[in-house]
Symmetry: C2
Subunit: 292 residues, 2 copies
């Protein structure tokens, strides 16, 4: 087991720290067998449910496994540089895997698509997260979820969209907690973001569009993570957010650095036998959903 | 299992974040049954070996379990505010537990005592870590350890002493890596340290005595951790060290925030069924001991 783990770490380290298609494909290949097995074990309860008018306003549901009472609702917001990404389906496990991971943990797993740049700029992603929350408030109970116990989770651009939803509705976001994996919050200027069609080319707009102050200030419970092999840009966002939170609240939020993982594997290994991050997230969701 | 974990988290959270005798005693009580079982399973291979002239220059050895080749050597440096602390023995598990944890992971576990303030001020603790390393270079092989694969690990004041040894011998410390748990490195001035008999009452001495610049600059592999319920002072040291490392190296070192743990439990739970931190440390030791 230790040998297998060390081999996985070495394989992921070999992809380097850059955001590159070869790294994404390599990571997905590494987890393919385990994620296909999970896909077979946890089928979707409902797919392509419309939570808005746009063709991208679609979500899939994974029903809580072995849960009797109304279950916490875990909403997964995929990454993809604001430009791409998909919730997956029965055949394509990426992102669908996070819904299955949540279902197996006893939650109602929700995996959403959202509108993409360049057609849809800021704050479309954040608005869509909010629209999905509204839809779940009305419909989660029908699928075994508790509409009063929703936790948002996003990776990379998805973490930014979760943060933007909190920014749009700081007092009425309707959720119990947020899981932010390897996100961009605006700690550093957006100048070096490869494609600025989401935040806009005009740098004077960026400060007010960045969700940083919201995720620094909010009293919503946060789980903040990055990975050991994340690009420096994303580690800087993680450190900057933790430092600002510490200044503001005098304490660290729940925080995690995924050792042996990179920007892609941190998200895509959820549901595999490497349960370290998954167990931390599960414990966080359970805790924030039993409070109050 | 999840229920037991959540109960443990709640019990530790209830001790608060302060460094208080009641928290230390409470934490030790929580782990007492598991640590006594570990003590029964992994007896010391040798105790009270002298690595120097002072009565505090004593160390205990725990032989690697199920290891054939010469094993990595894991040296545990206890905490205690520079003023107190003890390596433990067959009857008293605190600190001895870390040697047993290491032995069970296949390492030669070493638990040292070192000279204490106020009788012995800076850099006595760092010198003693170095004296223990020198003793192990000469003697570890006799007990199944590889003198060329030594990893230092310290908690609280012990982490400071490990850092001070690196500061005293930045080029010839003789070790493969360092595990720094909830340490003080000098990110913030020492003004608020309760007892300054170790670093000295004269604040003008503190900057040169602080090991911060060394642990920022060093290319030695580091594993840096703090806990979710550490006092803010220690979380600030963790964040400050990570931020300075990031500025200097452009990357995070291996980093870990022990969720559900406080300043005491982060160290004292090693060897129990909560293997999260222990597994990370074990993987780090294996990795740095197979390099080069």
């Amino acid at each position: 087991m230790a040998g297998a783990k060390e081999h996985m770490r070495a394989s992921i380290a070999a992809f380097g720290t850059e955001i590159a298609p070869a790294s994404l494909e390599g990571v997905q290949r590494l987890f393919d067998a385990e994620q296909r097995a999970l896909a077979n074990a946890v089928p979707a309860a409902a797919t392509d449910l419309a939570y808005g008018a746009d063709p991208r306003h679609r979500l899939d549901l994974y029903a809580p496994v072995n849960a009797s009472a109304p279950a916490p609702v875990f909403v997964w917001v995929h990454g993809g540089g604001f430009l791409r990404g998909d919730k997956g389906d029965a055949e394509r496990w990426p992102n669908a895997h996070a819904g299955r991971f949540a279902a197996r943990a006893g939650f109602l797993g929700v995996v959403i698509n959202y509108r993409l740049a360049p057609a849809h700029g800021w704050p479309a992603g954040g608005e869509d997260v909010g629209a999905a929350v509204a839809w779940l408030k009305a419909n989660a109970a029908h699928y075994g979820g508790d509409p009063d116990r929703i936790v948002l989770a996003g990776t990379s651009a998805g973490a930014a969209h979760v943060a933007t939803w909190l920014q749009l509705r700081p007092q009425s976001h309707g959720v119990r907690g947020a899981v932010l994996l390897s996100g961009l919050y605006g700690v550093a200027p957006y100048d070096d973001v490869r494609d600025l069609s989401y935040y806009g080319e005009d740098p004077s707009l960026h400060a007010e569009r960045a969700p940083l102050e919201t995720v620094v200030d909010t009293n919503l419970p946060l789980f903040v993570a990055c990975s050991e092999f994340d690009p420096p840009r994303f580690q800087a966002e993680f450190l900057g957010l933790l430092s600002r939170r510490f200044e503001c609240h005098g304490r660290l939020p729940r925080s995690y650095v995924g050792s042996g993982h990179n920007h892609f594997s941190l998200a895509y290994h959820l549901g595999t036998s490497d349960r370290r991050l998954g167990d931390e997230i599960t414990a966080f969701v359970r805790e924030v959903c039993t409070l109050g």
